[in-house]
Amino acid sequence: MKYSGNVIKYGDNVDTDVIIPARYLNTSEPSELAAHCMEDLDKTFTARVKQGDIITAGLNFGCGSSREHAPIAIKASGVSLVIAKSFARIFYRNAINIGLAIVECPEAAEEIREGDIVEADLDNGIIRDLTAGKVYNTAPFPEFVQKIIGNGGLIASIANGAVK
């Protein structure tokens, strides 16, 4: 899978309460969630995010609740990929299960700047910062996770018998 877009950068411990505040959890409609994505952290996010954009962040991205509304809101905002130094574990599995691409790469997450244009090829574990002219390498996904993503998420993997 290849991704390319403009970078929106955040810091450490971006929690699910700021990704999508609980006051909006009375719906699970992706577009309604996207309309409030990041609202308590960055009021400008929804106005400036464009299809394909890439979020970079620090440690423990997505910490807090198990709400799948968080990766759903990010994905429905148009974000194609999140690169972080580390992810909170429930967010990590939720993102994989719903098919939002995420990758841990501390170096890239640290160095890539807001507004840079970035290209990522996760099959080969390569992240390119086109603006800065730098290349970063990441570990490929484990085989089991590739199987889930390759089949279009966990639901599709079970529906087509890839996971029993």
């Binding site: 609980a22 952290l41 910490c63 429930i90 996971v163």
Partner: protein
């Protein structure tokens, strides 16, 4: 290398002799949990699988607790979806208004979890059941949907941090202070992806309520699960609540712990986590004069009978400070009833607090005690993120029921040791 408690339970549920940290497994599950927020998403995903039944209608639990009694039309619609699904699928353990409670207090009370179980729940604080010696962890709605369909979930086998407990807690100090102290030490990602396994001779001084509180907040250190060694107290609790016969797993003597944390319980002090992360833990030497507007006593962390007893002991015969709103929320209907029979509700009401029916309500900023801009609350809940209990510029301070009660009386963050001196 030997296995940890968590690894042994996972191996048993994956049909394997042994498992190693880092290995990906598909494990069978003893219970799958959802609530009124996460279940509707899971139900929508479940529908895509084209199944007309769940894997086992006795092994799915759905609890309406976050926004009930319904706070608005959308919340009502979400509960309606759950109610309809549980009726269609003939789900035995569906808990609605009247017999619901906050899920993580309710399931152990109903005897739905026993030692050695593997449990997932579409709620991050599912790790609470580790207090019973079970492997239990929070997942998302898609995991819940798939688990309802096939009775299994994928896991990366975690490595573990051992928390070795010694000593005994002093008066007015409880499990909440212990876990806040630990998170303060290791940080909100201190146990990321790992298990936290609690044991040692100090265990015997912790009540089941203390253990539930501690396991509940393992997620606040980033842990996949928190789990306690099983002793007589655990077995008594499990049998007393009519749960299945416990399967006790102890860690191997040479279990592969990648870190050991030593906690002397006799040194634990009343502890408060300052905004906006649970790791900002402080003891009273560093707290100073922090005025408050609201106190909340409740939640899956501290809404059990023992918690209400601890708060009532401090509030009995005293009045809350002028200008402070105090909201007490028993975690389950049974806790509510027992608190009534013991006269605790009278203590709260006479001291100027309100008592609510069980609900998550203010814990996640849902309703029933939302904070305005600039307001501060001392609460017995588990998260103090930006905007967690209302306005993004409000502040949440996490504390034990005893500290919350003491603070309610003075209008500033106050140690129970000061009030009860």
């Amino acid at each position: 290398m030997g296995m940890t408690m968590t690894q042994k339970i996972l191996a048993a549920h994956a049909g394997a002799e042994s498992v190693r940290a880092g290995e990906l497994i598909l494990a069978s599950l003893d219970l799958v949990l959802g609530n009124d927020i996460t279940s509707p998403v899971a139900i929508r995903e479940f529908a895509k699988l084209g199944k007309d039944s769940v894997f086992d209608n006795n092994k799915v639990a759905m609890v309406m607790d976050h926004f009930v009694p319904n706070k608005d039309i959308k919340a009502a619609e979400q509960c309606k979806v759950c109610r309809g699904f549980c009726a269609d699928m003939d789900i035995t353990h569906f808990y609605d208004v009247g017999d619901m409670g906050i899920e993580h207090a309710l399931l152990p009370e109903k005897g739905l979890v026993t030692a050695g179980d593997a449990v997932i729940g579409a709620d991050s604080h599912t790790c609470t059941y580790g207090a019973l010696g079970a492997f239990s962890t929070g997942v998302g709605s898609t995991d819940m949907a798939c688990a309802m369909a096939i009775g299994k979930a994928w896991f990366k086998v975690p490595s573990a941090m051992r928390v070795e407990l010694t000593g005994a807690l002093r008066p007015y100090v409880s499990g909440k202070d212990v876990i806040l102290q630990i998170i303060g030490k290791i940080g909100v990602d201190g146990a990321l992806y790992r298990s936290m396994e609690f044991g040692g001779e100090g265990l015997s001084s912790l009540t089941m309520a203390d253990r539930f509180t501690i396991a509940n907040m393992a997620i606040e250190a980033g842990a996949k699960n928190g789990i306690f060694e099983v002793d007589e107290l655990t077995l008594g609790y499990i049998r007393g609540h009519g749960a299945d016969e416990p399967k006790v797993y102890a860690p191997d003597a040479d279990a592969d712990y990648d870190e050991v944390l030593h906690i002397d319980l006799s040194e634990t002090e009343p502890t408060v986590a300052f905004p906006h992360l649970p790791e900002n833990a402080r003891t009273f030497a560093d707290i100073g004069d922090v005025k408050i507007d609201q106190v909340v006593i409740g939640s899956c962390t501290n809404g059990r009978l023992e918690d209400l007893q601890a708060a009532a002991e401090i509030m009995r015969g005293r009045h809350v400070a002028k200008g402070v709103r105090v909201i007490v929320i028993p975690a389950t209907q049974r806790v509510y009833l027992e608190a009534m029979e013991l006269g605790l509700l009278k203590v709260f009401i006479e001291s100027g607090a309100v008592v609510s029916t069980p609900t998550c309500g203010p814990c996640l900023g849902g309703y029933m005690g939302i904070l305005a801009e600039g307001e501060r609350a001392v609460t017995t809940t588990n998260r103090n993120f930006v905007g967690r209990m209302g306005h993004p510029k409000s502040e949440v301070y996490l504390a034990s029921p005893a500290t919350a009660a003491a603070s309610a009386l003075t209008g500033r963050i106050t140690s129970p040791w000061e009030v009860m001196a």
